[in-house]
Symmetry: C2
Subunit: 329 residues, 2 copies
DNA sequence: CCTCATTGTGGAACCGGTTACACATTTAAA
DNA sequence: TTTAAATGTGTAACCGGTTCCACAATGAGG
């Protein structure tokens, strides 16, 4: 690998001049620049980012920390982040936390050790010391904490919507699956749904699910029909669980949506490929990723910013696991 | 952030000694070591990986290049790579290539600029100059090229299995969906299936699909039943397309597997949640990721290695989009 | 008691960039 | 024509580690 000194020698100039050409800073005579540029081409020179990063004390790397890329909600987020970052010449160091704070700490540390300029994290505890003490900007994604830069969607509103729509379509004995307690958006959704159903005076029962994973989804699904065998409407904690519920319902010979309606959360890509296609509360995951990346870039480049928290809309995405609403208007 | 010089001063020793303590190299007196260790603790010192990487000309970073993390097959791979790397204290710089060689080049370049010690890539053209000229080890994942370190599964055998099993279960008018031409494993699968059906003397028709994406999957599915309306068996190019075919078949009022059998490829996590659950040719994606990471680590740490290419088994995973085979044994 | 290997430590060069500063030359203004 | 500003370039320090080498002290063997 050629170094800047090789280029300097080859072009008959000093390293400072080469640096000026590369970075387009300071004065460089047109002729000199040409010489340097040909030298760069001839030697196939590309600057060593590590050396650059050492002196500047900042790199073009950002850290991305997600709970689990294998959970279908996150790849979309990650892709959004990656696309936006890629377009702005930032690269991503990526890690899975499994929602474990030990792994989280470990990654945060190595991010810092690698001079990342910023970080995007989907964590349950944005308020922890580990984040507070960082002197690089951090954007919280999907999970949020007031007053910290974040991009998320309104879980409470999502829960409210789900409850309202499933009720409007006639379910009167609803099973609400509550996601993991430590996961903020899951709790918000649950609260939104539960409070709305209470307000509407509609009976519902709660099924606890302690994870979002595909592996256990089937368990929660069975649990639903064990605890509430005659349910006519299920609000699942996310689309994976909803898919499992749908699967279990059909297996039990129930008709969907005639006997039982099902609403999920997230709108993961495969939801529309289910049979029947899943009605869900959509979060614009890809756009959230992009927005988080944009926000982080702004924080990196400028200092202050008026709006640090971006709430993305959730939308009721009607497909075929719910009945058609009676139109009253 | 404290530096090694701060620690040295605080402990009353030289930076060389601190470095020896950190790296457990050379001679350090027990008492001195204690002093240094307390200084490190008191200052919350962690070594700057960038400085380290600059001098050593290698980091603890590896590059991971995948076509598209949003395609459900890849998160599992990525997770396998990440887990193995994480356990061995390597971090991952991650990029999506979208199968575009321009993006690929760009990432390879920045990986090198960041002193990565190795690279895992899922690319259509492992033989390209861009990879050949690298002086860091590269492991090719999912896609392969003879004689280059790689981890992949036997697409041809997968195709053969799919054809054999769907035939054994009675399909006689088969539609084979052919994946993108430039994607090696897709072509292998297709060849395996086509040649086997030919050998068995079973009629089949080919449907071209030029992508693996979720967005277009529905199009290929419709195409299948437009071109071969009376098909009684579909071998899809992957599980996403298979899911779309299943969806379309049910939409058209066909019974699965009674009227039409469907076999996918990959066994992505959601395949088992479909209704009916999808019969598929399984690739152990997570394990492939881990194996690739292990192989790369070996290449990084040792020099030579007897077995550079690892072929993972594909398995016929029988679920309910195929009929039960008549047992003859 | 002398010699030499082992142990212990520090100084300084080095990795490959960036940039402050000094200095020279050209251009423009007075 | 003089002077100041603008332009152009090189030297060397610096970023924060690692490691080579020199040197001192200690311990073992003869």
């Amino acid at each position: 690998m050629a170094t800047i000194r090789d280029v300097a020698k080859h072009a008959g100039v000093s390293v400072a001049t080469v640096s000026r050409v590369i970075n387009e800073t300071g004065y460089v005579h047109e002729d000199t620049r040409k010489k340097v540029e040909t030298a760069i081409k001839e030697l196939h020179y590309t600057p060593n980012e590590v050396a650059r990063s050492l002196y500047k004390r900042k790199s073009r790397l950002i850290g991305l920390l997600l709970p689990d890329i294998a959970n279908p909600f996150f790849p979309e987020l990650a892709r959004g982040v990656e696309d936006e970052m890629q377009e702005n010449d930032f690269r991503i160091i990526f890690g899975n936390s499994d929602e474990k704070s030990s792994k989280e700490q470990e990654y945060i540390q190595t991010f810092v050790q690698n001079n990342v300029v910023g970080m995007i994290a989907s964590t349950n505890d944005p308020d922890t010391h580990a984040y507070r003490k960082l002197n690089i900007p951090v954007v919280f994604l999907d999970r949020t904490m007031d007053n910290r830069p974040s991009v998320y969607s309104d879980g409470y509103e999502g829960g409210r919507l789900a409850a309202q729509e499933i009720a409007a379509r006639g379910s009167r004995n609803i099973a609400v699956i509550q996601g993991p307690e430590r996961v903020r958006p899951a709790m918000d959704r649950f609260r939104g749904a539960a409070e709305t159903l209470k307000d509407l005076d509609i009976a519902f029962q709660v099924i606890q699910s302690s994870s979002f994973g595909i592996a256990e989804a089937g368990v929660w699904a069975k649990e639903v029909f064990r605890k509430v065998p005659d349910t006519d409407g299920v609000i699942a904690s996310n689309d994976i669980v909803a898919a499992a519920v749908l699967h279990e319902a059909l297996r039990l010979g129930k008709k969907v949506p005639e006997d039982v309606q099902i609403i999920g959360f997230d709108d993961i890509p495969l939801s529309s490929l289910l049979t029947p296609p899943l009605t869900t509360i959509r979060q614009p995951a890809y756009e959230m990723g992009r927005a988080a990346a944009r926000l982080l870039i702004q924080l990196i480049e400028k200092e202050a910013l008026d709006n640090h928290t971006i709430q993305m809309p959730v939308t009721f995405t009607e497909r075929d696991t719910t009945r058609k609403a009676e139109k009253n208007d």
